[in-house]
Amino acid sequence: MARMSYAEALNEAHCIAMRDDSRVFTLGEDIGEYGGIYRVTKGLQAEFGEQRVLDTPISEIAITGAAVGAALVGSRPILEIGFVDFVGTCWDQVFNQAAKFSYMTDGRASVPLVIRMACGAGLGYGVHHSQSLEAWFTHVPGLKVVMPATPADAKGLMLAAIDDPNPVVFLEHKFLYEVKDEVPDGRYTVPLGKARVAREGGDVTIVSWSGAVPWALKAAEQAAAEGIECEVLDLRSLVPLDEDAIVASVEKTGRLIVCHEACTTGGFGAEVVARVVARAFDFLDSEPLRVAAPDIPVPNSLALEAVYLGTRERLLEAVRGIVS
């Protein structure tokens, strides 16, 4: 065990994977000597060289397609796209190309690719650098979608994503990069599709992921002081989804709140609610709730961004409301 940040844990995962397997390499804008805008690739070029830690031009279509093509012929690329907001520039290569190869060849081809992208608001970055777009990816069969909330999971999920034979969209919350916690030493994987019970409780299930997990834990702590015990489930990956873990928790608590940072409409919270209603309707003591952002772009002013991020404050109110 060592205490390290989410960014350092991701860096360690890269080192382990690249030392173990010469097919693994990484590419992206400013990831070499500069170390990446979040320092996730810091020092990698010094250890592994310019051929395996590739600085790229600002050409998201070409570098994404290059990663897909390189994966298709048997290497194991890790692509960094600095902000998930930029995926619009290379979306065809993600959802039409990477996601389709296994299916359109009936299993004869695979794209073992990890696309790392930073998501999330809270830093006053404005409309083009702050969004949470995970629901887009979950709507594309063929992609896996991973969203770690802790340093230990960041490392273990990254190593699992690199091992996976499918294209994995790996969304890192930019507010979590500097968060420090205990991280196990050496190689280990956290399987995709296994949720984590971040806090146990019997009154309300709060399902969350990525940057919303700390909010859920804080609300749970505050609610506990008022005698309400929340169970906080960290999904870790949205595809594959640990539906059994969600259902099991709701069967225990009888109440469901899904809390995510992204906008409400068409957000992944709707999918979680729909699945719970289909499988555990009879266990529900009250209507399931979504606590998520209003349907607005992310404004630049911190005063306005706080409205977009109002989920944090509204979550505790929702917990109080659902048990009353």
Binding site: G65, G69, A70, V73, S75, M104, A109
Partner: protein, 331 residues
């Protein structure tokens, strides 16, 4: 443009005859496919390569078995010329389980990794970045393949084209960009879509050498591509080759072709790549009438066998629609 050195790449008589037979075979398959598509047996959007066979055959002859190929929506000729199994190809078009992609790819998404044919593509320009990636993968894996990337003139106004050329140049990747310039992006002539006269004119701005060739001359295609492939394999970086050609059938089976005159099509039919090469072979006294008949018989038998195989292959189990969304070990 550098002077062409024809002598160093001379082909044997057997190889020359094979080029002729291959082009004729591609034509016969596309004619059969057109017939079966009109009859309603082959579903979907079908883009024929009639008139462009010299490009597919000349290119394939210039490649080594380990080389990779990335194609477009007009992929039949590329796929067959690269060595795809004709039966599995036809069965794929018919949507049968015996198809090379289990019926899930059809005409526009053909692939066979065993022969290095990575992907056709339903998206114009979609393949160019993939080809750069296949070349990058070669470098990472320490292999020695070259990636040949087909694209059409329609793709050269797409951002994927420009980004891909730049990236391949910056990284000196072993990729050959082969533009099949047939003059039209569906109904729009190339002159309505860009100010520069040639696709090749784009290449120097990315630091990539380019050549313009007669795409209906199979030997010129072969020799030019062979030099570019050899150069890329030796570490000389990418090349762009623009092969001027023409599709003498519509954009797809069923196209009204209202955008071009019969005279224009007729003029290009006089430049038919197969007829043109036949004359070359006759001048060399390599192709007698008897040999031509023999070749035609072989091709007819091959096309019939593949078509019969496709027609008589069992229908797909609908349950197959739900498989292989993810690779083994996936969800």
């Amino acid at each position: 443009m550098p002077a062409r050195k024809r002598t160093s790449l001379a082909l044997s008589n057997e190889q020359l005859l094979q080029l002729y037979e291959d082009m004729s075979m591609l034509r016969a398959f596309d004619e059969k496919i057109s017939e079966r598509c009109i009859r309603g047996e082959i579903p979907g959007l079908i883009h024929l390569g009639v008139g462009e066979e010299a490009v597919a055959v000349g290119v394939s002859a210039a490649l080594q078995p380990q080389d990779k190929m990335v194609s477009t929506h007009r992929a039949h000729s590329h796929f067959l010329a690269r060595g795809a199994d004709p039966k599995a190809f036809m069965a794929e078009l018919y949507g049968k389980a015996t198809g090379c992609c289990g019926g899930k790819a059809g005409s526009m998404h053909l692939a066979d990794l065993d022969i290095g044919f990575l992907a056709a593509n339903g998206v114009v320009g979609g393949g160019l970045p993939l080809a750069v990636g296949a070349a990058l993968g070669q470098r990472i894996l320490g292999s020695d393949w070259v990636t040949l990337c087909f694209f059409g003139d329609g793709a050269n106004n797409n951002g994927a084209f420009h980004e891909s050329l730049n990236l391949a140049a910056v990284w000196d990747l072993p990729v050959v960009f082969l533009c099949e310039n047939n003059g039209y992006g569906i109904s729009q002539s190339i002159h309505k879509q860009q100010r520069v006269a040639n696709v090749a004119d784009r290449a120097p701005s990315y630091g990539i050498p380019a050549e313009i060739i007669d795409g209906n001359d199979v030997l010129e295609v072969y020799e030019t591509v062979r030099r570019a492939v050899d150069k890329a394999r030796a570490g000389g970086g990418p090349t762009l080759i623009e092969a001027k050609t023409y599709r003498t059938t519509g954009h797809y089976v069923g196209d009204s072709e209202s955008y071009r005159s019969e005279e224009e099509v007729a003029e290009w039919q006089t430049k038919d790549p197969i007829v043109k090469f036949e004359k070359v072979l006759r001048r060399k006294k390599l192709l007698s009438k008897a040999l031509k008949s023999e070749i035609e018989e072989r091709i007819t038998a091959l096309v019939e066998e593949a078509t019969d195989f496709a027609v008589h292959s069992p229908a797909l189990d609908p349950a197959a629609a739900l498989t292989h969304v993810y690779c083994e070990g996936g969800v």
